[in-house]
């Protein structure tokens, strides 16, 4: 066991084994991962600690149809700290029916490269 302070504990979700990982910071400030049974656990745990990426899904009001809402999501995960800034952008969207599934409602959200797309068809 290496010395250090545990700064995060997480279950690896890359395979069904589900290793119980711990991320430690040693005296020199270096991050270490423990509990991984394979090599993939290390980048997974460090990624979660240093730059976690998340997709996000919500729904927005749609005009010109009986359906009230059209559901939306991002085409790719974005840095976790951008969830609320991107939600604020999405909240401004007022698409007009018809909207097709996969239609881009907001391209390149906040410069992340991820688009906001409709996830259902509303006619």
């Amino acid at each position: 066991m290496s010395a250090g302070t545990v700064i995060d504990r997480l279950t690896c979700v890359l395979c069904p084994v589900g290793c119980a990982l711990a991320v430690l910071k040693d005296d020199a400030g270096e991050l270490q991962v423990e509990g991984n049974q394979c090599d993939k656990g290390v980048p997974f745990a460090l990624g979660e600690v240093l730059h976690p990426m998340r997709n996000l899904a919500t729904s927005v009001p749609v005009a010109g149809t009986a359906a009230r809402m059209v559901s939306v999501r991002l085409t790719a995960p974005v840095p976790r700290e951008l969830i609320f800034p991107i939600l604020a952008e999405i909240a401004r969207l007022r698409p007009q029916a018809p909207v097709r599934r996969g239609q881009v409602l907001l391209a390149n959200a906040l410069g992340t490269g991820a688009d906001v797309i409709a996830t259902r068809t509303v006619v």
Partner: protein, 416 residues
Amino acid sequence: MSAAIPRQSCDVAVIGGGPAGLAAALGARRAGASKVLLVEREKALGGILNQCVHDGFGLFLYKETISGPEYAERLIEDVVKEPIRVETGAMVLDLSAERVLRINSRAGYRLVEAGAVVLAMGCRERTRDQIEIPGTRPAGVLTAGSAQNLVNLQNLRIGREAVILGSGDIGLIMARRLAFEGIAVKGVFEILPWVSGLERNVRQCLLDFGIPLELRSTVVEIRGRDRVESVVVAEVDEKLAPVAGTERIIPCDTLLLSVGLIPENELARRAGVELSPLTGGAVVDETLMTSTPGVFSCGNVLHIHDVADWASFEGFAAGERAARYAAGERGGGETVSVSAASNVRYALPQRVSRGLAGVEWSFRVRRPVRDAVVEVKGRTSGRVYARRKFPRLLPSELQKIKVGPAVEEDLEVVSP
């Protein structure tokens, strides 16, 4: 004199148009049924998928992760390409053991005689009454799925400060959704020592937003006159009884319940289908046929799934078997019974034709366990038919185990 009630017939009637029922209708067509009827009580097909706007669906069926509405639309597109008679806004009022459906719809009331029936009605959420929370009866107590419908489909603001009881996936996903909407989630309380939902959801729905999760604790009282004003939470002991002196008042105006799902089997009961007290769904054989001949079951009305894809796979299988039954195919013969033992909560199918080889069981455990060896054994002989090592088994995850050799006796599925 009243006019005679119209009578129609079909090969396969599927009740319910969610992930299981859509797949069942497709499965019936693929197996050659010519007249397939799909009945859905909502105005649109898709079932609960329509309100599940989060992603994580389709990984097994479509090999990519998509949202619930996208998953539904893709299945629906396949259904409408087929000559399947789809009836929405239609309610099956009754189902007899002779497979006569009584249907009420905009077209009127009629009887449909089906060669085979697939039950795919899904499930309901457990409510406050079923878990008997004491206190007043104010507005603001909602099941997590109702809240999901109100927020995602109807754009309603359900409250300002919420507490969530139960750590099922819908509750966790709604915690994040409420955080998105600027509603303060004061905490998620789970009576068991472990989370009911997926660990990924604990991290991405709670930890990401600083929402506290308290295990071994529950809501012991709801307070408020017209609207919820607070809830009282308390820790519980090993017997899940509240520990006196640990009560804490949490001000909030909304309580969401994510405390379990119950298969919706009223129609199955009317058709005389034998139900399992362990799953709340039908007792089925390897063809997913219930104890009522020609009546099949799949998806959440059979047992609760954690992944929609598996409900669909069950639907495809049930639809195919129903089509074959409608065409005159009969299994018949003797069956053996299969039970769950020790840490296995249930195993499905519960009946299997004697002499059949290559049967696969779905099962779920009661408690989390690591490095577990699961066995399928002869109940009296002790003969091991299958043995599989699992690095980890969780109550939240449905698992599978396959038996190679022919089954010759009553079996049990055992996990440490």
